[in-house]
Amino acid sequence: MPNPFQPLQSALRALVENAQVLPATGQAVVDMVTPDLEEIYDQRTTGEATVQTVWETDARSRYRSIQPIHRSEEHGFRYFIDGSARTYFIGTVLEQDRSTPVQVSQVGAAMVRREDDGRICLADSRRTILLTLEKSQVSESLWQALEQALAGVADYTLCDSATNNRYAEAMQLQESRPRGAHRANWHMRELETELAQSLSRTHKEWLVVDGSLGNEFETWRGAPIIGVAKTFRRDSRFELGTGPRARKLNLFGLLKDLQENQRTLVFPRNNEGKIVFWYVRLRPQKGLDYPLMGVVKVEMPNPDREPVDSQLVDRISGWLLAERSVTPYGRDGRWHAHLYPIYIAEQVIRSRFYSEEVLKSGIRWPFQVATRGMDT
């Protein structure tokens, strides 16, 4: 098999010919993003933590009992999207007194379709390799040389870690290396959104996106879509009702009494209602470690900002309850809230990534050029 990272070599050569390079010790090093990333993204991108109103047609009870709706009764969820990003630090480029980390990211998203008999097949996928630097830290000529090296190379993208990086901005990150990793995550999010928007489907074919829906879905009027988040912000507070019977609950308080086969009321995001959300308990608390486990947060675009039909939310929640069979228990620590088709989509995209061995062997700095450059 030819070196899949060969197209990067000319870009790396441009770097060592035009600047000094300090390679990463022990070849490429995985750059991890912050733990509980989804939770932080949710916290930083979904606005107000305090919810003061309910956004559905029948709001008589805080919890509503739901029956699982198997696909043989009504097959609502047809498509599932998940993405993955893996970032490697391969060195630092020094130019004058400026420096920037050089990172290579494998980013991808996959969409799978579930057939009537339950079988999963691949509907579409995207994959990109990002070469990420902080553009402001390199000269214009070097940046142009890099652009030129990757021009016309399919699936490779030169990327500035400082621009178009909503996650890093939301987290107010200053350090360059974490910004690079978050830039790759944002690119993954863009690929997921691109997949979701590119698919032509009917209004009976629902799409499930892994994680929180971005604000770009506030105006979504296409075929139905929901986001299902396994981990979500925990600082949410719910101030429900007025008068003597008004209740103030934190998230823990809301979810501890949420029983198996129940959902909560529907709430508006940021108190605007362009995106609404609710929680569904997929698995009983008795088999889990703490109350937030086994619960998913469901988000749905609501561009008209009208109260959502409670019957529809019940149906969606019923479909979700049916998803608890099968589970990736033993394969993923978040199994209690993981939807299996989402897990498969994740496996599809990860199986298409090059292994760390291939990446480490395939990406090599052309040292002899660098040495000659430094001697002169």
Partner: protein
């Protein structure tokens, strides 16, 4: 006959922990595709040097696994609502695949690099099956149909044996094992013999069959009605479903206690087929006396000494033995007995003579079935006489079903010794008799005569069988033997048998060392074989194959009643 399919059934799969090798490879199977152990498949491979066309690596499917992404059984339990859900189908069936393991048979361009990941895999058609097994290299005139290979996709191919590897000179002998009760071992031996006879244009094979059970082989000249399906199978194999020609079958049935008065032989066949009655009188048996005592332990060799004296005395017509004409004479008259008392003879102690006489009396008097007679009448014949005159293209059925075990050993040993003598003995100058170029001897329950080491003392009959097994091939004497358990037969006999056929086998038996030539997975399949299914191992084949064969076109005696 062949159903060619160009649709791939899966693709090669090699992983970090489970790599493909030059000997074995794995492939995943397309959903909905049925593949079974013993299917022969072809995996696309590197093209031969200078050729743009892919070569094919052929494999024999030995096992199939179903794998899923479940980390453990607990994951499946939890997936079903913590064990509460036992009826409904999962909302999304767990990701799983059927992965087959195949043993490499050959490559069409002699490339033995491992099958590559993602290589397309197909069912082999009949030509490719022949290529895979090495049958394509057998010259047409040497091909002997040995059964039908049937694959999961309906493809059928004739499994041919190489005649030179069955009847010599390259290799020889056939050994058939399997539990009893499925009527498979004998039927298959008969099928294979018929196939050899029909594919013997020069008519140079003679056959000797020992009938050991009921009248199983005493109706082989009588036709049996075949179903359309059975006719078709015979046709597919390129063979005629005919019984033995009656003018070429000779039945030798034993003399019984009442044969001399009733004329009926001591046989299960009722009525008996056209036959000759054989018997043993002392004078005609003296040279085979040792065979009668094959099962008797003789650590000091005294019994052997007595027998040796008698054999040389009677055989050489020595003066002391001239008066000994019958079994009674031997038991009651000099030189061994005088006035009822065993006598010292040529330094053999009277007590040893006494022991010999007691044993002999038990065999030829007390327990005898009638085969031992005082004198042969004109209506009687001997095995030596009949087998000593065997002709090419003729079949001789020797019935021993109703004989006592010692008598069976004597007759079988007599057959072997006579045939061996035909080839190893010096030809008489006035005799223009030409023995057949090949003689096939078929016997069931071989373990009685050639038990495994540790299961019996070395004996005259064992030596006779070993002679045939080890040297018979060079003379053209070929042993077709059957038994329930391969492990119960002497390893020098089974080791010399180039073609091995295995029917359904007990699970305890398959772990015996004799089955090491089979892959562990194939061994396990032996316990599941159906009636009419056999595993065939032949020197030409790179791996054993599963075959089916048609039912015999002749009456099988009691089974048909």
């Amino acid at each position: 006959m062949t159903r060619q399919t160009s649709q791939p059934i899966g693709r090669g799969s090699a992983t970090e922990r489970d790599p493909n090798t030059a000997e074995k490879f794995k492939f995943w199977i397309r959903p909905g595709q049925m593949v079974n152990p013993f299917d022969i498949i072809a995996a696309e491979h590197f093209p031969a040097e200078g050729s743009g066309k892919s070569s094919y690596t052929f494999g024999l499917v030995t096992n199939i696994q179903h794998i899923t992404d479940a980390a453990g059984h607990l994951a499946n339990f939890i997936s079903n609502d913590f064990g509460e859900e036992v009826d409904a189908a999962p909302q999304t069936p767990r990701q799983g695949a059927n992965v087959a393991e195949a043993a490499v048979l050959s490559n069409s361009a002699d490339i033995y690099m491992p099958v590559q990941n993602e290589s397309r895999v197909y069912f082999a058609d009949e030509d490719k099956i022949h290529l895979a097994l090495g049958i394509d290299g057998i010259p047409q005139e040497r091909r002997v149909p040995a059964g039908l290979i049937q694959m999961s996709n309906g493809t059928q191919a004739v499994a041919y044996l190489d005649r030179d590897f069955v009847l010599g000179p390259e290799a020889g002998h056939v050994n058939i094992s399997g539990i009893s009760g499925l009527a498979t071992k004998t039927s298959y031996a008969m099928f294979l013999i018929q196939s050899l006879l029909q594919k013997d244009p020069k008519d140079e094979i003679a056959v000797i069959l020992l009938n050991v059970k009921y009248d199983d082989l005493l109706r082989i000249h009588e036709p049996r009605a075949l179903s359309q399906e059975e006719h078709k199978q015979w046709q597919q194999l390129g063979l005629k479903p005919d019984p033995w020609p009656s003018d070429r079958v000779h039945y030798l049935l034993p003399c019984g206690k009442h044969t001399q008065t009733t004329g009926r032989p001591n046989s299960f066949a009722d009525p008996p087929p056209p036959h000759k009655v054989y018997a043993y009188a002392l004078r005609e048996t003296a040279s085979k006396l040792d065979l009668l005592f094959s099962d008797i332990p003789d650590p000091g060799g005294t019994l052997g000494s007595v027998i040796g004296e008698i054999m040389s005395g009677i055989g050489g017509n020595e003066a002391a033995w001239r008066a000994v004409q019958t079994w009674d004479d031997l038991l009651t008259r000099p030189p061994l007995v005088q006035q009822g008392i065993p006598q010292r003879f040529h330094n053999i102690h009277p007590s040893s003579i006494g022991r010999f006489l007691r044993l002999l009396r038990r065999v030829v008097k007390t327990r005898q079935s009638g085969i031992f007679v005082s004198q042969l009448s004109n209506r009687m014949t001997t095995i030596e006489q009949e087998i000593g005159d065997i002709r090419s293209g003729h079949t001789y059925v020797v019935d021993i079903a109703r004989l006592a075990p010692e008598e069976q050993t004597l007759v079988f040993g007599d057959v072997l010794r006579t045939v061996y003598g035909l080839y190893s003995g010096e030809a008489l100058p006035f005799d223009d008799y030409e023995p057949p170029r090949k003689v096939i001897i078929f016997v069931d329950e071989l373990n009685k005569y050639a038990p495994a080491r540790g299961h019996g003392e070395p004996s005259p009959i064992l030596e006779q069988v070993l002679d045939i097994a080890e040297r018979g091939r060079s003379f053209g004497i070929i042993l077709f033997a059957a038994q329930q358990f391969l492990s119960a037969v002497h390893d020098r006999v089974t080791g010399n048998s180039a073609t091995k056929v295995l029917g359904r086998t007990d699970s305890a038996e398959i772990n015996a060392g004799n089955y090491r030539f089979l892959d562990q997975d194939i061994r396990s399949h032996l316990t599941r074989l159906d009636k009419g299914e056999l595993i065939l191992s032949h020197p030409i084949y790179r791996q054993p194959v599963k075959i089916r064969f048609p039912r015999p076109p002749f009456r099988q005696g009691r089974a048909q009643k």
